[in-house]
């Protein structure tokens, strides 16, 4: 068991002895990420400080056939960073410099270990915005965001991570350092490898530097809350909002269980008797934002809202958004095991999907709390169980979630909107892509990674 002595020596030579860890306790903590039910110890944990060091590690791994799993903060929800085949966990948190923020070119160059929130704060100081804002933004690294093509609360109006990656520096498993894309908004020279690497979940290359597009920070931002009798009613309100000609920055919903859990954590005075809450908001020119908020409130009332209120100030808006980002962890107050999915359907079919989830939960006798990004049809049905030792419950939850995926595909949706495939959703991937695309994915993977060392057992396997 463990890596051969010459590999360990080589790793120490590549990154320095103190940046190679093999103590059992260190291996234990890097054997999991934020995904429940997936755990496997690596044989070594390595902390490189540069692309050259990453290249040295990868050359060594390819030569010896040692698996390598790149990792940022380990906040992903699809077991993308669990080293299922052992080997090396390559932690990129030492590479956390913000190399450049250019207000003229509206871009930033960063190392992968900087967190989304750190980048957000740094560009905000220049009056700029980095739009992608996954729920885990305070913890998650930008490298991890790009590797999983993270979404977030602003998806409908602003898009997701892939819309903001202009270029990458990446190290191939065979040790070559490549630069894809760059500082240009227009550049069609060659296949779009930047987009291919975005969302490749550490299976094709290791990202060591990112060039990201920024926007001028919006002048104003406002948020409102509407309560509905049922989640399906909230779904209809979403259709109404879009029909009113608004593309809102924020359109999030929570069912009654989620509202209760979030309220217990955040104490915002949310109403607990309604079946669903819709958080809506917009940003931009103050007058336009005001008008859009009115139109959205009207659409909510028309869809049967019980109550509609607007946040008084920025602090209150921020508190509401922060609370929404904490929905998943807050749900663990209902049960210690929360299995979260992110089945996604075309927006007009949200209400239908919500009804199906209710029916599936009842049929399998499991508790499913649902929240999500109503604007882009990205739902987060979450199975809540008392503990992972409830094996019967876990089996029922797994069967229920398999039905949820099938229902999403049936409605023209997908098995994952923003969390990724990782190990958790690999069994369902062929249902979404079909056999031909699966085979193509494997050929793409082999072209990048002939020895198959990068994150084996995940995408492309």
């Amino acid at each position: 068991v463990g890596l051969p002595a010459d590999v360990l020596d080589g790793l120490a030579l590549a990154v320095g002895e103190e940046h190679v860890r093999t103590a059992p306790g260190e291996l234990a903590v890097y054997g999991r990420d934020a995904t429940p039910l997936f755990q496997h110890r690596p044989d070594a944990v390595v902390f490189p400080a540069s692309a050259a060091e990453v290249a040295a590690v990868l050359r060594l791994a390819t030569a010896h056939g040692v698996p390598v799993v790149p990792r940022g903060a380990g906040s992903n929800l699809c077991a993308a960073t669990v080293p299922l085949a052992g080997g090396i966990v390559l932690v990129l948190t030492r590479m956390k410099r913000i190399l450049e923020i250019s207000a003229d070119e509206l871009l930033a160059r960063v190392e992968p270990g900087v967190t989304n929130a750190e980048l957000g704060d740094a560009v905000a100081a220049h009056g700029l915005l980095y739009a992608p804002d996954p729920g885990s933004r305070v913890t998650a690294t930008v490298g991890g965001n790009v590797a999983t093509c993270a979404g977030g609360l602003r998806g409908l109006k602003y898009g997701v991570t892939r819309n903001y990656v202009l270029g990458t520096e990446a190290v191939l498993p065979t040790g070559e350092i490549i630069h894809t894309g760059g500082r240009l908004w227009k550049d069609v020279a060659g296949y779009d490898l930047t987009r291919l690497l975005t969302g490749s979940e550490g299976t094709l290359a290791v990202l060591t530097e990112l060039t990201l597009a920024l926007l001028p920070a919006p002048a104003a931002s406002r948020t409102g809350v509407a309560y509905f009798p049922t989640l399906a009613d909230a779904g209809r309100a979403v259709t109404g909002v879009i029909a009113a000609g608004v593309v809102p920055a924020t359109l999030e919903f929570l069912d009654q269980r989620c509202v209760a859990a979030v309220e217990e954590y955040a104490n915002l005075g949310l109403r607990l008797d309604a079946g669903a809450l819709l958080l809506y908001g917009d940003d931009g020119d103050p007058e336009l934002v005001g008008r859009n908020l009115e139109r959205m409130a009207d659409a909510c009332v028309a869809a049967g809202a019980i109550e509609v209120t607007t946040a008084r100030d920025v602090a209150e808006s921020e508190a509401l958004l922060t609370a929404r980002r904490c929905s998943l962890p807050a749900l663990s107050r209902l049960g210690a095991l929360t299995i979260l999915e992110d089945a996604t359907v075309p927006r007009p079919r949200i209400a239908e999907m919500v009804d199906r989830i209710d029916e599936i939960a009842a049929r399998h006798d499991v508790t499913i709390a649902t929240f999500g990004h109503a604007g882009d049809g990205n739902l987060h049905p979450t199975c809540v169980l008392p503990s992972s030792e409830d094996t019967d419950g876990v089996h029922r939850a797994e069967r229920a979630l398999a039905d949820v995926f099938a229902a999403a595909l049936d409605l023209g949706g997908t098995i994952t909107g923003e969390h990724g495939v990782g190990a958790a959703k690999l069994p369902y991937l062929q249902d979404r892509l079909g056999a031909d695309q699966m085979a193509l994915l494997r050929r793409v993977k082999a072209a990048f990674d002939p020895a198959g060392i990068l994150n084996p057992g995940k995408l492309g396997s």
């Binding site: 059992p24 260190e26 903590v29 270990g113 954590y265 807050a330 107050r333």
Partner: protein, 379 residues
């Protein structure tokens, strides 16, 4: 005798009996705590993050790691115990309690650091503390036969900073200050003797009549954990900012900032009150990262001085950059840590306790001069 039972029980603890399973089961490993953790910020290493430490605790509990695994030993000790991970945890994990249970196991018997043993032993008996307080002229006595609130004199605070209890009494003359009150046991609870710490808190609760008023965030949080929040008030919770006088330096209003006490802020949620009091008497400046640990962390600065210094350095930079006359603390450990650090740098900023700063200018006074003379007279 009770203590020996506590130690023996801990020594026989095996895998599967170290932690309260309900507390340990609460964490879902989302990782939202990572950026709040001072030791994770220092290392970028999952093992020194709250989530990583809970993974380690689970490995200890299930037997996946042996009881004396070096990473377990190191991380149980490297953690500051500041509980900054608690308010940011949406799942409501009570990390502070888990750490206390962890240290009971990790620091069982002879494994407890010698210095921690010496310190907890030193404050176990009431009479030396009493003597210490008398010699150092800490506050004493009471207003009448049936006081409704008592001042906690503290164990180390009584001897190191006796001016704090005198200042507290000057601010709240109705407080009783019985000298025979002992130590609250926070020191013990944080250093591997949870049973002993709880027992001392219960005894103190019986000995002190009425509400227990503290000038130490660490004691306040421990007493509230054991006796219930209703019995405990931190000084600033009882002050009426409108009745406080101004503090002036060189003929102008003093500029002050606050360093939070970790346990007061993260454990009891008290952070607005001291700010309100300061804003009433001086020009208040919010210290960037005021809620981040200063590295004192109870016995930590003594047990791991190098790590404590690494945590302290950016704090001192921030204090010096704030352009203030005083940095105010609400806990004796923080006061000692900041005062020592600032003096070593020959900084012009002075570290004082909240009670001392407020009491140096009695209500209604508006004359010039500095508060520093009274505030630093005891140190």
């Amino acid at each position: 005798v009770n203590d020996r039972v506590g130690v023996d029980r801990a020594a026989t603890a095996r895998a599967g009996s170290v932690f309260d399973p309900a507390l340990l089961g609460r964490c879902i490993s989302c990782g939202y705590c990572l950026p709040a953790c001072p030791t994770y910020r220092l290392t970028g290493d999952e093992a020194s993050s709250p989530r990583g430490r809970i993974t380690l605790m689970r490995a200890l509990e299930t037997g996946d790691l042996p009881a004396d695994d070096p990473t377990l030993t190191e991380q149980a000790s490297f953690c500051l115990g500041c509980r900054a991970c608690e308010p940011v945890c949406p799942a409501g994990v009570q990390y502070g309690q888990l750490l206390e249970q962890w240290r009971v196991h990790q620091w069982r018997g002879v494994r407890r650091p010698i210095l921690a043993r010496a310190l907890t032993l030193a404050v176990r008996w009431r009479w030396p503390l009493r003597l210490f307080g008398l010699v150092r002229r800490a506050a004493r006595g009471g207003p009448g036969p049936t006081p409704t609130a008592s001042l906690l004199l503290g164990c180390f605070e009584r001897g190191l900073f006796p001016g704090v209890s005198r200042a507290a009494r000057a601010l709240l003359p109705g407080l009783a200050a019985p000298t025979d009150q002992g130590c609250c046991g926070a020191l013990h609870a944080h250093n591997g003797d949870l049973e002993g710490g709880r027992r001392l808190a219960r005894e103190l609760g019986q000995r002190l009549p009425g509400t227990i008023v503290t000038t130490s965030g660490g004691c306040a949080a421990h007493l509230a954990d054991t006796l219930g929040r209703g019995r405990v008030r931190e000084l600033s919770e009882l002050l009426d900012p409108a009745r406080l006088g101004g503090v002036r330096v060189d003929g102008r209003r003093a500029r002050v900032t606050l360093q939070d006490s970790c346990h007061l802020r993260n454990g009891l949620g008290v952070w607005r009150e001291p700010r309100a009091a300061l804003a009433a008497v001086a020009d208040y400046v919010e210290l960037p990262g005021a809620g981040d640990c200063c590295g004192a962390a109870g016995t930590y600065a003594m047990l791991r001085p190098r790590d404590a210094a690494k945590v302290l350095a950016p704090k001192l930079d921030a204090i010096e950059a704030a352009g203030v006359d005083f940095v105010v603390t609400v806990n004796p450990g923080c006061l000692r840590q900041l005062r020592t650090g600032l003096r070593r740098r020959r900084s012009s900023v002075r570290a004082v306790h909240l009670a001392e700063l407020l009491a140096a200018r009695p209500p209604g006074a508006d004359d010039g001069g500095t508060a520093a003379t009274a505030a630093e007279a005891d140190s």
